[in-house]
Amino acid sequence: MGWLYVFLAAGFEFAGVAGLNKYSKRKTLLSGAVYLGGFGLSFLFLYTSFKYLQVSTAYAVWIGIGTAGAVLLNMFFFGESKSLSRVASLALIIIGVVGLKALS
């Protein structure tokens, strides 16, 4: 049950990031709602998951899926650079974030 909340939280984080991308380019009511609503629901589900799982574990999985997803989403749907140095740097960040959160 706890993991379902973590995955829901990560899913809404993707929505938040897509909204963030859209909203930063053109400020519409819809993009603003997806941006803030996505992140809001993401936090809500993450906090709910803490009732069932260890905080550091839930946090590490959520931030790992969320950050990797955010990056891939922007590469494939919003045409951001897929250069090797960029992908390698992003992989380092994701490894670092997950590792550090898992140890906290």
Binding site: V17, S24, N74, E80, S89, V97, G99
Partner: protein
């Protein structure tokens, strides 16, 4: 233009740390008023940063700084120890952030030269 965008990245990361600190220390209901205000300021700068830099870059750095900041806060303010493992992942994160800034700077240059 690029310089200003990185200022926005720094501002969003800073305000992120302020509200995370608030989350960890809030004890009265009214403490949540400034925390929510800081979150709104934080999101304002996050949007500004994404208008000029790739959203993926900004978001990854935002997550990285938040993670490093929380780990350091635990050590400085909440009496946790900084293990070798944590230091290792902090170093990996810093390398990733620097690499990303260099990579995006280069991509930007190639794009401009390509006439986009």
């Amino acid at each position: 233009m690029m310089q200003k965008a990185w200022f926005y990245v720094a501002a969003t990361s800073f305000f992120e740390l302020v509200w995370i600190f608030g989350f960890n220390t809030a004890s009265e209901w009214w403490h949540w008023i400034p925390i929510v205000a800081f979150i709104l300021v934080d999101f304002h700068f996050l949007t500004k940063a994404c208008a000029a830099l790739p959203t993926g870059t900004v978001y990854a750095i935002f997550a990285a700084i938040g993670t490093i900041g929380t780990a350091l806060m635990d050590v400085l303010f909440f009496g946790q120890t900084l293990s070798g493992g944590k230091l290792f992942f902090i170093a990996v994160l810093v390398a990733g952030v620097i690499g990303l800034k260099l990579a995006d700077g280069r991509d930007e240059k190639t794009q401009t030269e390509g006439g986009n």
